[in-house]
Amino acid sequence: MTAAAPAGTGTIDTDVHCAPASLADLTPYFEPYWRTYVLEGGVSLSATQGLAYPPQAPTTATPEAREAGLTPARTVGDLRAHVLDPQGLRAALLTCTASFACNRNPYYEAALTRAVNDWMITEWLDADDRLRAGMVVPTLDTEAAVAEIERIGDDPRVVQVLLPTRTDAPWGNKRHRPLLRAAAEHGLVVGLHAWGRVGNAPTSSGLTHTYLEDYLANSQTIVQAQVASLVTEGVFAELPDLRVTLLESGFSWLPTLLWRFDKDWKGVWREVPWLDSKPSDVVRGHIRLTTNPAHLPRQATQVRQALDLLDAKAMLLYSSDHPHDHGTGHDRLVAALTPDERDAIFAGNAAEWYRLG
């Protein structure tokens, strides 16, 4: 099984997917108007989550998860039986990206994200105290997103605001600041997770037509632009308590981005004088990355070098990204870690980052 935690309890998994099987699962959590909207408009949840996870793509589920019908988990019972109990997890952070591919009706998006959150709280968090959740918020209406954070952000089991990496404007853009401020004020981590609307191009220069480009873009192109945006726009200068996790976005690309980011900042710092330390320091203070997918070389010495360049012990949070199958990169990561690094990456870092106590 890809990305299984090393033997032992206490592991915290920061990216475990779940999703309603269909909008019918969310019906109890929709206000009446939206139940009729869904029916009359023929609105459904995308079976591929907006082409993020094509059902038959080998990346969509490990063979074990596929056999168990977890593509991803639909019920807490299934997750308990196949993930939480067998792996002896101390805690698992639930990721539900079902609303990422929502249509562009901002009022429906607000209703859908509320429904997803209430479904998650009622059917998952209430059912197993090992679970924590990333709440979802509408992306087209900042005020509504703030209101949703105000509504449930103080639930101690809600530890993250989950945002798609594909957006109309990068998350550092000033228009998004109230959302990020609300997250920071509620002590919530902002989790940028791969994917988003189909209509948001996976590249900066336009739309693509292959899953390969989409898949690659999530862990290389888009997320790097988001990191550059958050740092450059001064999000962390304005919100010094804000923590951001990059989920399912890879991590080995970070050192090269930061090397160039620091270098260019030295030359053009005058444009962004609020940036009061070099970008790599800002990132180290405010951003963490989950371990799956792990893009690492095959040779162990090169893996070690990649981890040292990143400062993996400080920067990584273990994630299985269940049920997705990203190949054997994660095994190479685990094999390269020292015992101290394992403790930090598989438990300590996440406990501290998400204030799990």
């Binding site: 000033k174 726009e233 001064g234 304005e238 005058r270 004088p273």
Partner: protein, 157 residues
């Protein structure tokens, strides 16, 4: 070595002079009533540092706020934009980057000694290159002991 750069009245604020002292080229900057002198040699790759743009510091308490200092304080090398503090030569490119060599600059009043000789007036410091008018103020660069020397492995020019 003392190098007389210019008569004070011929060196208005905002201007600079490049002076040659042997093999050494030195940039002298006037910012308001302050004078700064730097080796015209960028410690990075030897570019003509003192031909670069000067800028004030800009600070900010929050995104979107820009507070520009009144006086220029930095010079950026025209080759790669590496910036140095005009007053101290301090590099702002990060730890380990060498500073630019700086020199003391003074405004001195000529001593008044020396008599006109055949209509010619002797200069006080490097008189062979500068006519001197008694009682005029001069801008003088000091390149020898007593100047602010820094550890500049790449900066000796």
């Amino acid at each position: 070595m003392r190098i007389v750069v210019s008569r004070l009245e011929d060196f208005p604020p905002g201007e600079r002079r490049i002076v040659q002292a042997g093999r050494r080229s030195i940039g002298v900057f006037r910012v308001g009533d302050n004078f700064y002198a730097l080796n015209n040699y960028c410690p990075h790759q030897g570019g003509p540092l003192c031909l670069g743009t000067t800028q004030p510091w800009v600070t900010s308490a929050r995104p979107g706020e820009f507070v520009l200092d009144e006086q220029e304080a930095l010079v950026a090398c025209p080759w790669h934009g590496w910036e140095y503090d005009l007053a101290t030569g301090q590099s702002f490119l990060g730890p380990g980057e060498p500073p630019a060599r700086t020199y003391d600059v003074k405004v001195e009043v000529a001593s008044g000694e020396g008599e006109p000789k055949g209509g010619r007036i002797p200069g006080p410091y490097v008189a062979e290159t500068y006519p001197v008018h008694v009682e005029d103020a001069y801008v003088v660069v000091e390149t020898t002991s007593g100047s602010r020397r820094r550890e500049t492995p790449g900066g000796e020019g």
